[in-house]
């Protein structure tokens, strides 16, 4: 690396645009590609399908896409945390199915255990969080590899789903609160109001950060870039609302996804807990010597995985207005893990961001949606998704190697 004289001095106002560009370019050369490949990939995917079928970018298909990907994105957020730790959770899909069954059972009208929809959802995700915590305890305290523990979980919870639904084959969900999770669309005005509030909150948080850095005499990021980034996010958000409003409106399910993303990004990047998750994933022994309770972090992360799988399961159940024998089955597990990995979270632990759940899910969903729209078979869909996954993992491995070399 460079041996420039010290720039650790404080009290500089902000980085110049040139300095930012240089630093970004250096990082790129060193193998830190960030979200660049995924954004380029997304643009290519959208351009390809749009050229084949102009309906691809229609407002109807857009709102469809948003509700389609909500469940997978939610589950993938939990996967990101597990991967950050350098572990894996194979049980998430069927655990999400368990959440679906619990809400469905708890809303059965006139049954002795019927509860309000919101309560049912709360109980369901609490149960899946506990399931995650239980599996995490085997990893942390007994020392069984997470692959094996959660593989056992995959089999066990699939068995539970078959056992519970077995005779009926399907449980219909009639509770409107639950069904609204995936089937409610905001009115035009409400959509704009939500976007406005979100942008205002983001701007306030950004401003607070800049002020705090100024007060401690540390360089702030380039203000032009900060404002540009804010404007971009505002543009995307309002654009999405405007586009969705041409059809059914902005879906509640996607608002939930955004809330999950913001909350868990905050946890991962702004709290001690999140910092420790990265530390354990990067070097568990170093984390232990620094006084971090590694076992507790492991259990907590598996609880997050179970919790988010639960929310994802509720979204899926609500979307179908029912749960059946296929709950949590199909390609859900692989889609959720692929989403996190394609989005840029490393399988080797310690590297990745919560937003990669959305990025990866966007790639998978846009491809799946496009292939469905063009009428190709799912054979093609699987092959293409497989190739994208391989490309993403290759990119990760290569960038890791370059980063390690850059240090020597």
């Amino acid at each position: 690396m460079s041996s420039e004289p010290a720039t650790v001095e404080a009290a500089a106002p902000s980085y110049s645009l040139g300095a930012v560009a240089r630093r970004r370019f250096e990082a790129l050369k060193a193998g830190d590609v960030g979200t660049l490949p995924i954004i380029i990939g997304l643009i290519l995917i959208v351009a390809f399908f749009y050229s084949k079928n102009s309906n691809y970018l229609s407002a109807g298909n857009f709102t469809n896409l948003m509700t389609q990907m909500a469940g997978v994105t939610t589950i993938a957020i939990g996967v990101v945390f597990v991967l950050l730790l350098g572990e894996i959770d194979l049980s998430i899909a069927y655990v999400s199915g368990i959440a679906g069954i619990v809400v469905a059972e708890l809303q059965i009208p006139d049954s002795s255990w019927e509860v309000k929809g919101v309560v049912a959802i709360g109980i369901a995700v609490s149960i899946t969080a506990l399931i995650g915590g239980l599996q995490g305890s085997f990893v942390a305290f007994v020392g069984i590899p997470s692959f094996v523990v959660t593989l056992a979980g995959l089999l066990f919870w699939q068995g539970v789903i078959l056992y519970v639904i077995g005779d009926a084959g399907v449980i219909i969900i009639e509770d409107t609160t639950i069904n609204n999770v995936a089937n409610y669309f905001f009115t035009d005005k409400a959509g704009f109001a939500i976007a406005a509030v979100a942008v205002a909150l983001l701007a306030a948080a950004t401003l607070a950060g800049v002020v705090s850095r100024r007060r401690h005499g540390i360089r702030t990021d380039n203000l032009v870039l900060v404002i540009a980034k804010l404007a971009l996010i505002a543009g995307v958000l309002f654009g999405a609302v405007i586009w969705a409003n041409k059809e059914r409106g902005f879906p509640l399910a996607f608002l939930l996804v955004i809330i999950f993303l913001v909350f868990w990004t905050w946890v991962a990047e702004r709290t001690t807990f999140g910092r420790h998750v990265y530390a354990v994933g990067g070097n568990a022994e170093a984390a232990r010597r620094a006084g971090i309770n590694v076992k507790r972090i492991q259990v907590q992360v598996f609880m997050i995985s179970g919790l988010m799988a639960g929310f994802g399961g509720v979204i899926f159940a609500a979307r179908l207005n029912s749960v059946d024998l296929n709950a949590g089955g199909g390609t859900l597990l692989l889609d959720a893990i692929s989403a996190a990995v394609i989005g840029g979270t490393s399988l080797f632990g310690g590297r990745g961001r919560v937003i990669s759940a959305l990025m990866g899910a966007l790639v998978i969903s846009t491809v799946a949606n496009g292939i469905d729209l063009l009428g190709y078979s799912s054979a093609i869909k699987y092959m293409v998704t497989g190739l994208i996954l391989l490309a993403a993992v290759t990119l990760d491995a290569v960038s890791r190697r370059r980063l390690a070399q850059a240090g020597r």
Binding site: H216, I218, R270, T271, T272, R289, A404, R408
Partner: protein
């Protein structure tokens, strides 16, 4: 440099209380006796080298002091007071910091994040306060005259070996620590980087810390240490004053020294 005792005998007697003292420490792993009745001490403002061949028990002794291994026998005194260290946190609370051979840095975190790992500054709802952490990191590195790191927000993975060692040492001294233990700090470094790190070690002692330096490299030790404790096969050989001994004498003690209990440290 100030308070290092100036006796010319290889067995200095103690005019002041050692900052850290281990008395009669024993530790075994199964049937292997790693430490047998070992004494050790270090005082404020001195660099105490700890040497010995592989398997002499240096790392085990350090891990006992740092609370990673529980003691099988003996006791540890801090400022002359008997203390019990039951885990790394107890050692840290006393002001004992260890910089491990394998660095114990997280490659995927940046310099500031590593400096504060496990001791992050946060507000009442657990939010990290990045700005003060960044400012304090810059100050600490500046006070140690670590000037080669271009950005303290870059990942540790992208630093050179000497820079990483500087970060690890910087982390150890940022916490009002009293005793800093360095395990082979120059093992993986080139010539220029070794010089940098040794200068840093010297500076720590000048700033009033008690420094323990573990090394295989006698050249390094004769450059910075005030006294030299020799271990062999898990027992004490002796303590030398660096100014009145030669490398040959120390080598002989490491390879063929007669393990003896050193008189004068154990105040029975």
């Amino acid at each position: 440099m100030t308070s290092a005792p100036a006796e010319s005998t290889p067995i200095p007697t103690a005019p002041t209380t050692p900052t850290l003292e281990a008395r009669g420490v024993s530790k075994s792993f199964g049937s292997v006796d790693a430490l047998i009745d070992v004494d050790f001490e270090v005082r404020t403002g001195e660099v105490m080298a700890l040497v010995g061949d592989n398997g002499a028990g240096k790392s085990t002794l350090i891990k006992c002091i740092a609370g990673i291994h529980p003691l099988d026998g003996g006791e540890i005194l801090f400022d002359g007071q008997k203390t019990s260290i039951h885990g790394p946190k107890d050692a840290v609370k006393l002001g004992i910091e260890v910089v491990y051979q394998d660095l114990a840095l997280c490659d995927n975190l940046d310099v500031v994040q590593n400096m504060y790992l496990g001791r992050e500054v946060r507000d009442f709802i657990g939010r990290l306060k990045e700005a003060p952490m960044e400012a304090q990191t810059a100050d600490t590195l500046k006070s140690l005259r670590v000037t080669t790191i271009s950005s303290i927000r870059q990942q540790v993975a992208s630093l050179s070996g000497g820079q990483r060692q500087s970060v690890a040492i910087g982390r150890a001294v940022m916490w009002n620590s009293r005793v800093v233990i360095l395990d082979e700090p120059t093992a993986a470094l080139g010539v220029a980087q070794t010089e940098q790190v040794l200068a840093l070690v010297r500076r720590l002692a000048e700033q009033g810390l008690a420094v323990v330096l573990i090394s295989h490299n006698l050249h390094d030790i004769f450059e910075v240490a005030d006294r030299i404790t020799v271990l062999r096969l898990g027992r004490n050989v002796t303590i030398y004053d660096r100014r009145t001994t030669s490398q040959e004498t120390v080598v002989h003690a490491i390879t063929a020294g007669v393990p003896t209990k050193v008189a004068g440290i154990t105040a029975e």
